[in-house]
């Protein structure tokens, strides 16, 4: 996960390079460090460095890292000829390398030669069974072929070994959500919250899933998690504020007849409404009247 400051820094560099201000190499290094997916830019700027003999030789041994980075970007953009050439050069320079072997297998995958890629990955795993990247490529292949149950199976197997890989838990949760398997997705977020209890993103996603599951108990718990997001983000998270409005409205509907939550609920509802209206007034004033009506409707329906 990338923080807001890191993303801002990256975007600044990116527009600097876009506008001809130089800094392509710094940009490429930052993309690599933050592990973000900006394949079109990487391909464009990476190739411009590689095609320039003087720029390329000034990189020294880092040249090969750039080859690898651009090859991966080329595969992501389906520029397979470019990728093939780069990988060939890498293979010539490092004839025994398993790292290049990985790229060759990924090229097969990018071409859609699933069976051959699977063979290549299996043999790579035989030599290094704890290679996380290759394990994940297997999941990616299953996903690309539309085999979501296969992807889930592989990903679960992966998580049995690498249970601290939070990105993998999130990927699994997202697959479950796309299949509307909300209980399973909730389980993934529970693991994430246990592992990193101060990351508001996990609380938010968990609350969203609980609300989607529905039922009085789930929605009451969802409300608590939205509240913790507000706590962790200092009230800056709009989704959590909206989440609370939806929860209080839904709870009031579901708990008709049980009066004990009334005072606390309406207080919370108006606090959230005030916070939302303040934010909209400052940053999206033309949407403010719309917001006010929507919040009123949520209150009325409760």
């Amino acid at each position: 996960m990338v923080s807001k400051t890191e993303e801002a820094q990256l975007n600044r560099l990116e527009s600097q390079v876009d506008n001809g201000g130089g800094g392509a190499w710094e940009y490429l290094c930052l993309v690599r460090k933050l592990k973000v997916r900006r394949s079109e830019k990487v391909l464009k700027y990476g190739m411009s460095i590689l095609n320039d003999l003087s720029k390329r030789s000034s990189l020294g041994p880092e040249e090969w890292t750039l080859y690898e980075q651009v090859a991966l970007a080329a595969m992501d953009c389906q520029c397979l000829d470019v990728a093939k050439d780069l990988i060939k050069l890498l293979r010539k320079a490092f004839p025994e390398s398993k790292r290049v072997g990985k790229l060759e297998a990924m090229l097969l995958e990018a071409k859609g030669s699933w069976a051959e890629a699977e063979k290549a990955y299996s043999s790579l795993l035989e030599d290094s069974p704890l290679d996380q990247v290759v394990h994940k490529r297997r999941v990616a292949m299953a996903k690309a072929q539309g085999d979501t149950s296969g992807a889930i199976e592989w990903l679960n197997k992966y998580l049995e070994i690498f249970m601290a890989d939070n990105d993998a838990w999130r990927e699994l949760a997202e697959i479950y959500v796309s299949l509307q398997m909300y209980k399973q997705a909730a389980f993934c977020y529970e693991e994430l919250i246990l592992a990193q209890p101060t990351v508001p993103l996990y609380h938010l996603a968990y609350a969203d899933i609980l609300y989607t599951l529905g039922g009085l108990e789930n929605i009451q718990t969802a409300k608590k998690y939205y509240a913790s997001v507000i706590d962790l983000t200092g009230g800056k998270n709009i989704r959590a504020l909206f989440g609370i409005s939806l929860c209080t409205s839904a709870i009031a509907q579901l708990a008709k007849g049980r009066n004990k939550e009334d005072k606390e609920t309406s207080e919370l509802q108006s606090l959230v409404a005030t916070a939302l209206e303040k934010d909209y007034k400052q940053r999206a004033p033309d949407k403010l009247s719309l917001l006010t009506i929507a919040l009123k409707n949520l209150k009325v329906s409760s």
Binding site: E174, L179, A207, T212, I238, A284, A294, N297
Partner: protein, 205 residues
């Protein structure tokens, strides 16, 4: 019955949805279709569209909030929500998934003329090569068959869905070449930063 109705979509509504899908090539996206309450009963005019999300499409809270706000905004202009647009994550996936069907069902409950549009990636990819004027979306209508309601995809080469402006695909190609998709704002973007306007008022100016 959805079979006899014709659907006409304006260039802006159409292009907005396709650009949104192109902005987020690596994920599924969805959107809402807005129509005028038409005095003629045989044509549903899709006047506008609102791009919704590009992540975690299956979550309810963001969908509910967006529908409330969208409905509220358009109802004051005599327009209403008439359908749902969906673009699958994978390039070769031309099936209407259960998620799209569920949202379609939800809208159908309020409006029996509801339609679901599914992006046809093959057609989109072939657009620059053919001079096809038909839209790059497949249309699905609710068909009542054997007393069970199912969404059935209808090919857009019939007269079911037409684009109002015949040069729409040419304009679309032009926008694609200038990477106009970067300017599309969806509801996800709005919820992350409320200063971004999901109505996209400046997009086609």
């Amino acid at each position: 019955m959805g079979g006899e109705l014709r659907y006409e979509i304006t260039q802006n509504a159409y292009i907005k949805l396709v650009l949104h899908a192109l902005k987020h090539k690596t994920s599924a996206v969805n959107g809402i279709l807005v129509s005028r309450v038409s005095p003629k009963n045989d044509v549903v005019e899709i006047i506008d569209s609102v791009p919704l999300f590009h992540s975690q499409l299956g979550l309810l809270p963001q969908l509910e909030i967006s529908l409330i706000l969208i409905e509220e905004h358009f109802v004051t202009k005599g327009l209403n929500i008439v359908g749902y647009f969906h673009a699958n994550e994978r390039f070769d996936d031309h099936e209407l998934g259960s998620l799209a069907k569920n949202v379609g069902d939800h809208i159908y409950r309020y409006l029996p003329q509801a339609a679901v549009l599914l992006l046809d990636n093959k057609k989109l990819g072939a657009l620059s090569k053919t001079k096809d004027r038909s839209p790059v979306v497949q249309v699905a209508f609710m068909f009542l068959i054997f007393a069970s309601r199912i969404w059935k995809l209808v090919g857009s080469d019939g007269n079911q869905l037409t684009i109002k402006e015949p040069s729409a695909n040419v304009v679309l190609l032009d926008h694609i070449s200038t990477e106009k998709w970067q300017d599309v704002v969806d509801f996800d973007d709005h919820l992350d930063d409320i200063s971004k306007d999901w109505l996209n008022p400046e997009l086609f100016k």
